[in-house]
Every structure is written in structure tokens, then in C-alpha cells.
Symmetry: C4
Subunit: 365 residues, 4 copies
């Protein structure tokens, strides 16, 4: 690991330099023009943290509890596909790192290692991210396998009924290398979808897309907590709670599915206000600093998930890189708490925020 790797931006920089162009386009690319991806970061530039000084910090801690699991700090590994693209051991390496850093890894449906092998290697809790499969039985099989392997929660991703328009990947001509594939899924049927000339998207392609009833059915089919990932609107959060979900992840899929949707930070306070504490609200998208996490918590998040930086660190530093990257974030978070005079996560509320444009100090936008 280069000695100047001291922040998440450094991992990204080193990854950009060393990665294969196609892999880089896949990992760092986004939908269309990358507008939402850039805004995920830029959203944090609209806010200032307001520090209190000379506060008593005795017994300060960033610890929290999620679905009965004690966490030293509220930072989880987001689900991302195909870790073997950047490390020969793939998700197994990531899971080992998660345990070293004492946090939760969320394993993707599109993992490049079997979910059972990942669970066997891990010595810390895992969650499982689920894409609803065209056939309910296939979905249920994945659920039962995750339960059997000891996964502690399920995340149903709802914002990607079809793939994003990933121009960066397309321009780079990215294809999955030989030997890397979504091993937890049955082989995809040969692409013989007959497309009606009148529509490239709407003829058949979406007939099997999941609906609210899919979520309801899933919640009824498992005793694991089911989180819904990919909610941006308060109305959808309401529907998700009504369908029985145990938590919500405000997310735009890292800007990888539909470009021009808002950054998670812009809608998080609206969703959190609607949820009003009935279930935990998590968030991902552009979080790269401890101060970002303080802002997310102030806007209503119970915890955050980290996506691309995990792949950057896995590529640059392997197991050690991922564990170090997580510890950097934890350190930054705790330093930000100390320097703003907040001894506990619950002390982080909207009074810590000031809008940079002067519009509405002390309040979420």
C-alpha cells in the first residue's frame, strides 16, 4: 500500500492508476453522464458543521445498535458485485476485512463467490442483498440459502428493475472476464428476448419486475429483518413500511441506474421525517469522510453504507486495505464528534448543520 494512502480519496486515486480500464469503468462509472454520481459528493458541499467547544467528552463513543446487533460505529459495507474483479479471493477477502474492522458486510446477489463460502470465511455478521428474481421460487431459494448460511438481515434492492444506461462501461467495452460471474444465480437464459420494433424497453423486459406485493411476500416469507434499498421518496418509504419492511436504505445506487435523480443527502431529511423513527433509515452515496457521516446522521440516518471505496481499498491493499479504510472512516467520524462537541450519535441533530448558501441555518434543507 502506498504510504500516502491516508484517506478514501487516496484509495480512489491509486485504484484509478492501477486498475484495468474496463474494470475502472465498471467500478467508478455511473449511469449516463454521471450527474447524480457527482451530486452525491457535491451535496455535502452545501452544508457546514457547526462545532461546540470545551464540551465534556467523558465516555464519548460512536457505538450504536442495529436490529439487535451492537456496532462500534455506524458504518457498514454496502453490497457491490463481483469483488473478484479487483482481488483474487473476491468477497471472502472483504468479509475477513469487515470482521477485522468489526463491522457488517452486505453480500451482493451478484457476488463472485458463493454466499456459503463467504459466510464460512467470515467471523463477523453478514447481511445479504437480494435482487428479486423473475421467478418467485428462485428468489425464495436465495432467501433460504442466506438464512441457512447465517446471514442476519436481507436488503431488497428496488431501484434497478432494469440495468442503468452505463455509457462509461459501454465506451470502455467492459465485459466480465472469464471465470468471474454471479455464481449465486442460475445461468442467465440465452438472450432471446424478442424485441418489438415499437419499443426497445417496454416489450416484455419489465413483465417480471418486482412490485410492492413482491416486498410484502418477501417480508412474510422470512423471519430475518428485510430492509428496502433504493428509496428516494417519502411516499415510497411509507409504502415500504406498510409492506412490512424493517428498515429503509435511502440510495440512488451510487448513481449507477438512473442519472439525474437527486443525491441521497437531498432527500434523506424528507424520508426521515416521514418515517419518523418507525424503522431505521440508512443511507449510501458519496460518503467519503467522517464529516459526511456526521451530516448524514444529522439529517436522519441511523447508519451509512460504503460502496466503491471498499473496492478501491480491496484492489489497492487487499484485506488490510479494506480494514484500514474502514478504520480511517471511523477515526474521522470520532474526531468530528469530538471536535463538534458531540459525545454520542444521539447528540448529532440538525442544530449541528448550517446551509452553506445561508438559506436556512440550523435546519435540514
Amino acid at each position: 500500500m502506498p504510504s500516502d494512502t491516508v484517506s478514501l480519496a487516496d484509495y480512489e486515486r491509486h485504484f484509478a492508476r492501477m486498475a484495468d480500464a474496463g474494470v475502472r469503468a465498471y467500478v467508478d462509472g455511473a449511469a449516463a453522464d454521471g450527474f447524480t454520481q457527482r451530486n452525491n459528493r457535491a451535496a455535502f458541499d452545501n452544508l457546514y458543521l457547526l462545532p461546540r467547544v470545551l464540551t465534556d467528552l467523558t465516555g464519548a463513543t460512536a457505538a450504536t445498535t442495529l436490529f439487535g446487533m451492537a456496532l462500534d460505529y455506524p458504518i457498514l459495507i454496502a453490497p457491490t458485485a463481483y469483488h473478484k474483479l479487483v482481488h483474487p479471493e473476491g468477497e471472502v477477502a472483504t468479509a475477513v476485512a469487515a470482521a477485522l474492522a468489526r463491522t457488517v458486510m452486505t453480500v451482493s446477489t451478484q457476488a463472485s463467490v458463493s454466499l456459503e463460502d463467504i459466510a464460512a470465511a467470515a467471523h463477523a455478521p453478514l447481511w445479504f442483498q437480494l435482487y428479486a428474481q423473475p421467478r418467485w421460487d428462485d428468489t425464495l431459494t436465495l432467501v433460504r440459502r442466506a438464512e441457512a448460511a447465517g446471514y442476519k438481515a436481507l436488503l431488497l434492492t428496488v431501484d434497478a428493475p432494469l440495468s442503468g444506461i452505463r455509457n462509461m462501461e459501454q465506451r470502455a467495452g467492459f465485459r466480465l472476464p472469464e471465470g468471474i460471474r454471479a455464481v449465486n444465480l442460475p445461468d442467465a437464459p440465452a438472450s432471446v428476448r424478442p424485441v418489438h420494433p415499437g419499443s426497445p424497453v417496454f416489450q416484455g423486459m419489465l413483465n417480471d419486475a418486482p412490485c410492492w406485493s413482491t416486498l410484502e411476500r418477501l417480508c412474510g416469507a422470512t423471519s430475518l429483518p428485510v430492509l428496502v434499498k433504493g428509496i428516494l421518496m417519502p411516499e415510497d418509504a411509507e409504502l415500504a413500511i406498510g409492506a412490512g419492511c424493517a428498515g429503509i436504505v435511502v440510495s440512488n445506487h451510487g448513481g449507477r441506474v438512473l442519472d439525474t435523480v437527486p443525491p441521497a443527502m437531498a432527500v434523506l431529511p424528507l424520508v426521515a421525517a416521514r418515517v419518523a423513527g418507525r424503522v431505521p433509515v440508512l443511507v449510501d452515496g458519496g460518503i467519503r469522510r467522517g464529516t459526511d457521516i456526521v451530516m448524514a446522521i444529522a439529517l436522519g440516518a441511523a447508519a451509512v453504507l460504503i460502496g466503491r471505496p471498499v473496492l478501491h481499498a480491496l484492489a489497492v491493499g487487499g484485506v488490510e486495505g479494506v480494514a484500514h479504510m474502514l478504520t480511517v472512516l471511523q477515526t474521522e467520524l470520532e474526531a468530528a464528534m469530538a471536535l463538534t462537541g458531540r459525545a454520542r450519535l444521539k447528540d448529532i441533530d440538525p442544530t449541528i448543520l448550517m446551509a452553506r448558501n445561508g438559506g436556512c441555518a440550523y435546519a435540514p434543507r
Copy 2:
């Protein structure tokens, strides 16, 4: 066609690389400093699309109807001059591509092929764009020729009574090459306009400019629907309806005539509010993505027109390029509808929009 041509921006990039400098200045240039041209694009950056998830998309479609014509999707080819500048077959190639992509081409008064030859080659509906000629009889001749050749609608362009101050073209020293000219018009009289030293513009040059009475006369002279192209103000939309027009195209002529006028997107909601559904409102200017089209529809547009990208694609890929470019846009539009949970164009209303500056979420500016 280069294999990395996967979006309209790619066509533009390849065109910029391969085109003759003068032709590029003509096609991609704009009036004065290009401020309005840039804002045509930038206007979209002020908006976010708000997606709904897990929606039922059964029977989803982007189809619509305009003046009795059924369209698979609401994207038309805008009128642009001299297609022979970028392709040896000129407008004939474009018309063939429009038919392949199952949409309408609008043929310019300044086409480099006779309007009859274009109509003969086309196997899909055509519209005809009209510049009012100094003499009414010349205007009427064009109308009668378009009617006879089977054109289905007329667009009267009203925002260019004089040419724009096209500094980019002037700096590049652009002149029409030998053999390319506005073949549908009589030869321009030799430029012997005696300019009074007191005014370079106002002495005689505008005496024959069209007025509201010209529009009224035109509407009375044909049974084709007459659209007025180049309206930016609600008051002018009202006057145009009063004069009998069948539709309005909100447009600043791609920023090519008067720099510093607002982008079409900024005034579209004001015009649409005033028109209030009495006639369809179309729009052009800077539309390069399916998400742009969703935004335009949310702000009141019934359909959009595409200008420069048609020339880019015609130069880069010929007939196939134009058809592919249109299909890319259609695909992006349909994907955006699916990913925002809108099964039909009529489901796209202002609640899909959020102002990026946080000013007025859920409402047009």
C-alpha cells in the same frame, strides 16, 4: 461508426473530430458568445427526477398522438438547413432514417434537396418548416408545394427575421461549398442593399419581416396544421393561438439567432401554463438524453424536437447513425419512464421534478 458511440454526446464528439472546421462552426456554432446555447444544456442541470419504485409497469408505453398522427415516442427531427454539408445525399438520407426510426422529420425551407425529392424518398410522415418570404406569393408557392408533396404539417419559424450574429461561423470564414444551396428557394437577389450610414440594420433590411398578420394569413391559406416555432413568451403564445395556429414550438433556435435569450426549459412552464392545453406545446434546445425529455414533458411539452444531433449522427453514421441515435434517445426515454415508475407519458407531471437548488421541489420554477 466507432464502437464507443453509445449516446448523443458521442456522436457530437466524433463529429467534432471529423468535421471540416467551417462546417463544424456552422453546425455547432451559435450566436455571439454561445451563452444561450450553453444554457440550453445547463437548464437541465437545475432539475432532478424523483423516482417511484416497485410500480406496476404492465402495458407501459411512450406512444402518443400529434395532430392525428400516432407516434411510438414523442421525439421528432427538428428542421435544420443544408444536410448535404454532412452527407452526400443530404435530407434524403435523413428522411430514410426517420422512417426507419418510425418518427417525423421536419424538412427545412433551407434544405439542400428539393422538398419533392425528400418526400419521394421518405416512407414516413414529413413536416415542412417555413420561412416567410419577402413576397407573400413566394411563401404561398412553398406552402402549395409542401401540400402537394404530402407534407402533414407546417412550422412557421418566427424568431429569425434577420440572421444571428454568428461569430463562430464568421471567425471560421464559413461559406456554403459549391453545389450546396437552399434549392427550394429562388436564387437570392444580389446583395445590393444600400445601407444608410446611420444604421447597419434598420434601413430596409426589416421592411419585409413577417408580422402577426402573416401568420393569420398563412393559417387561413392552408388546411394543414400550422405550428409557430420560436416562441419564448406566454404573451406571444396567446397571440399565436389567436392567429389560428395549431401548435407552438418553444425554441430559441438552438441559440443561433439572438444570444442571451433564456433556455427553452426556463420559459416552457410559463408558456405551457398560458396555453393551458388549447394546442400542443413542443420544445427544442439542448435535449440530449431521455431524462431531458421526461423533464420537458413534466414542464408541459407534448413532444420534443432534436436538431444538431441529427446532423452529428448523419455525419458520423449516415442513415444508420441517425436511426441509431433516435433509438438511443427512445431507449433512454423508456428506461427513464420505467425507473421513475411512469407507465405512460400522461403520468409524467410536475411531481416528478425537484429543483436542484432546493428552491421549489415538486413544482416548475
Copy 3:
């Protein structure tokens, strides 16, 4: 003159390439960091022009009258020093060009040619810009000479009681070349100002600075109209009218004196509202396009003055360059009037404006 010189920006570009570094720093430089100079331009980017179409333009004209002088168009030459820096004949060449372009030149107190020689060469009206001299008699001598030479108005510059902090000039080590000096002024006394160590500015340096009484005395001492140049605040406009001035020039001296003051466009509507037509309000600062002039008039200006572009054009094209540059501006102004549907200057009012930020359409900021 290079053939691609088709706008004021082209003159600036060619001047930047050909000018001596010191002369360029003097002409194009500004106070401190050039913040105000940049904002003079940027202020125009906050506004859009709203065009009306199909308007009757019969008899359209940009002509106006100022202090009894008929002008074909409302664009004057602003006072700038030392034209010999860029042309061997200095202000004489500029005056000839002004007459060719049928407009008024304002001659600076710091002209590098005697005011009588300029007047002798000119065959069009001249105005004289005045700096109040430490001794009233010296000021009066200048006034009498201007009157005798046939100047038609006086501009008293009030925003420069001391020189600006012109870091760009200082870094370039600019000094007036041998043979170029302010020939209309007596030789400056040797710089033996004893500076008190406690203050580099306030000890003596400002004891002779002009006050409101200076203006009153000047207005009483001449029958020529006296304009006050360098007003940015409505309160000062009121005082200037009270002191007897015949007109006001809203100006920040091209950003050359105090950096961080607002652009003229930002305060023009406030000043114009206070003046309320009692005297004409002129404006300079960053005007480079005909559309800028339309905006200035919409915000309350009766006419505009052009500074640096005159020196650019004089350097690049001599007499012909200055005349061409002025005609370019006039052409752009008239084209903008035609394309916004305004047949006369008086038709240009705030309804032609839209704030780009959406804040307050149809009204000055």
C-alpha cells in the same frame, strides 16, 4: 486587421497577443485581484433578454438625444488615459474614428495629446473628462481650455481621489515610456511627500481630495453640462443632483480603483430609480455586446460608454479598427432590438429582462 476580428472579444484577444506586457498590464489590468473587473462582465450573465416575435418594426431606430446632441446610437467613447501607448497618434486617431462612427469621444485629463490638438483634428463632438486638481485654479484652467476648444460637456471623475492598488501593473513593472505623459497637466511636483510612519495613506495625501463643494463650485463655474462619473450609490446620486450636475455616470472605473465594489449593472437600477429621470444616467463597465447595451437601457441607462475596447481596437486596427468596433456594437444593438421586437430605445424597459436565477423575472434585481 486579422480577418477573424468580428466582435469586441476578438479585438481584446488580438491586443493581448500583440501588446507589450507592461502596456497590456496597464490597459487590461485592474485593482487588486480584478474581482470587480470580472464581475462587471459576469453581471450580464445574471440576466436573460425576453424576445417578442412578429412585431412591427417599421421605422425602427436606435437614435437618441443627449444634452441636445443627436446620436445615431447610444454608445459613447469613455475617457481613458494615454492613447499614445497603443497608437503613435494617440487621441487624435481616436477622435477621427469617433467622427467616422458618428459618436462622441470623451477625452481624458490624462490624454497624451493636448486637448486643443485633439479638438482640431476631430470633426465630431467631444466631451472632456476632468480630474479635480489639488489647486482650484488648475482645475479652472482645464475647464476654460476645454470650453475654448469647443468641448460640449464635462465629466468630473469622483471615484479616484487616490490611485488604485494596481497589482497587475506593479508586477509587470509598468512605467510610462519616454515621451508619453499627461500633456494637459503641469508637471507633477517631485514626489517628496513626507509620509508619517503611522500611516502610508492618510497623512497629507488626501488633504486636497475633492468634496461635494468642489462639484458645486464646478457646476457654477461653467455653462457646459457637468456629468459626475463614478457614482455607485443612490444617496450619492441624490447629492450630485443637489450640487447641480447635468448627468450621472454609474461606473466603478472599470474595476481599476477599488476592488470588491459592485459591478455597475448591479447598482444601476437602484441609482436610476432614485434619479427618476431628473438627469440622464449613463453607465460603463464590462459592456462588450449589443445585448449588454439593451440590458443596461432596460435597467435605466440613457447611454453607455466603452473604455478598454477602444484601446484594443486602436492598437489592433488604428482609426479603422475603432470605427469598425463601434459599428459592430451598433449593429449588435440594432439586431438585438429587432430580435426582441423593440423598435425604439424607449421600448426597452424592465419587461425585457428575466433574472437567470429565476428569482425575479420581469424586474430589475
Copy 4:
């Protein structure tokens, strides 16, 4: 000293060119991404100064009084560590320069020369900046030494209970060179802090951090005026006054401790409004121009402190450089007063300000 050194930006530029990379990272670097550091500068770009003209400037002066000390101008030297990094004589050279420029130097606890040696060399008033030490007795020893050496005031820094996340320094691998250290402090104990794996920050590291009671105790232990440095919130200003402080320094430590906190200028008016004249409010952070100082005073500051530019000037020009840099600032301040028509500091109030965004002219944000 290079002859083009005519502003603080020039000193910064020359320093950047000549300094060792590590020293540059230490001096010019900031916490994390440097967001707050950049905003310290950018905050000034939100404001314009509104000049009044033809004002009577007889007897004008920038002089003021602080804690009974007469100052020719309200610009002090902020505390910064380790001046020997940029000059062999370290803080002694700076103190000599301060006296030449007739202003106050604030000596850092982390000075690289003993506070007694600095005092012996200085022939002008000194203030002493204090970090509360883990043991009160060590703090008290520093206070008594400063009193004995004749320091006139104490600044307790409260915004840095732990070091900032200084990534720029870390990437550059900066270490204090042999022979440069905080000589006024006892040797730091060997770093044997046992870190609990559950938290990199919160285990023990903050147990000795100062609290409000520390400030109260300090105020009671000395007859020198105690200023509190590092306040950004009005509530903390209130608490500081309650604890007995004699003055407040609004500061974010030059952006070196916690990134994303607001620029001092953004919160200064809020703090000043709360303090309401009970004690003087000083400010530092990004001040590089005389016009910045006018703005700070208009927003409620009694005086300003200058940090990094002192090190730039000390490196580039030694004693003479620092004295010149201070005189440049004084000259710019006085010129700004003269050109805005303010004869005394007390004439600088919020009516001199205009918000650049047009939001609230004539009032602090």
C-alpha cells in the same frame, strides 16, 4: 525579495515555489480536503463594498485601541507554530518585524524559540497563545512565564482538543526537522497510549481535554486579559463571556482542525450580534486584502489576525518581508477606507456591504 512581491498573494506564490514540500504542506495545508480553508477565502467573494464619494476625509485614520493598547491599525499577527521552519531565527525575527510595523505579535505555545527570548528581542507588545496542558500546573507555569516576560494578553485556543486530520501533511510525510520543536513545552511523553480496538479516538485521548471550567479557572488565575480563540457559535461566545473572558476570536484555526466547519466570516455577524459589544470580537481566517478587513469590521470585528501570510513573508523576505507585508495590508486598508469614504473604523458599518447574490443588500447575511 522578488520585485513583483506587491500583495499577500505574491508572498504566498513565492513561498510555494521556494519552500520544501513538507514545510509547504505543513504551512499551507489544512484539515482533510481543505474545504473550510478554501471557504475562508471564498466567503469574501459573497460581499461587495459600497463606496461613498466626495466625502470629507480630513483627519482620517485607521487607529484603534484594544485592551488599553493603542494600535495604528487593527491588524495583529496570529499565533502560528514553529517559525524556525521558515527562518533560522524563528519567532525572534517575527517579533522584530512586528515592532517595525508597529503592531502586536501573538506568540504560540508551540513557538520554536523560548517565550522569554522572543520577549527579550521584541520592542513592541506581545500576546501569548495558550494550549491548556493535560496537567493544570503545566498550564499555570506557562501563564506565569508569560506574565513574567511581559506579555500583555493571553489567547486560549479552544478549537483543537485533538489534532486535525491533516491529510496534506500526512501525504507529504512531514516531520519536524531535527532541532525544531516546541521548546516552551516539556518533552512529550513517549507515545504509549494504549488504544482500545473499539475506538481510535475516544479511549483516553480526550480525558484531559479542557472544558469550560478550565477557562474559568484560567481567567481567575491571571490579571492579564484572556481571549478565547476558536469560537464559531454564538452560544459558545455567551458561555465564554460568562466564564470571564476579555475577548473572543472567531476562528476555525485556518481550516486546520476540522474540515467542513463554516468560514469565520459566515458566523462572525451572528457571534458579534450575540456579544453585542460586551467584549471585543476579533477574527482570523483567509484575510489577504485590506478590503477583507473592511468587510470583517463591517460584520462586527474590532480587529483581525493574520496567520499564514506571516510565515510566507518570513520565508520570502525575513524581517523586512514581514514588516512589508503588514504595511501592504495597512495601506490597502487605508486606501479602502478612503475610497469608500470612511474616515474612521467606527464609520465602517453594515451599510457598507452588499450581498453579491442580491439577497440582502445593506445588511449582514
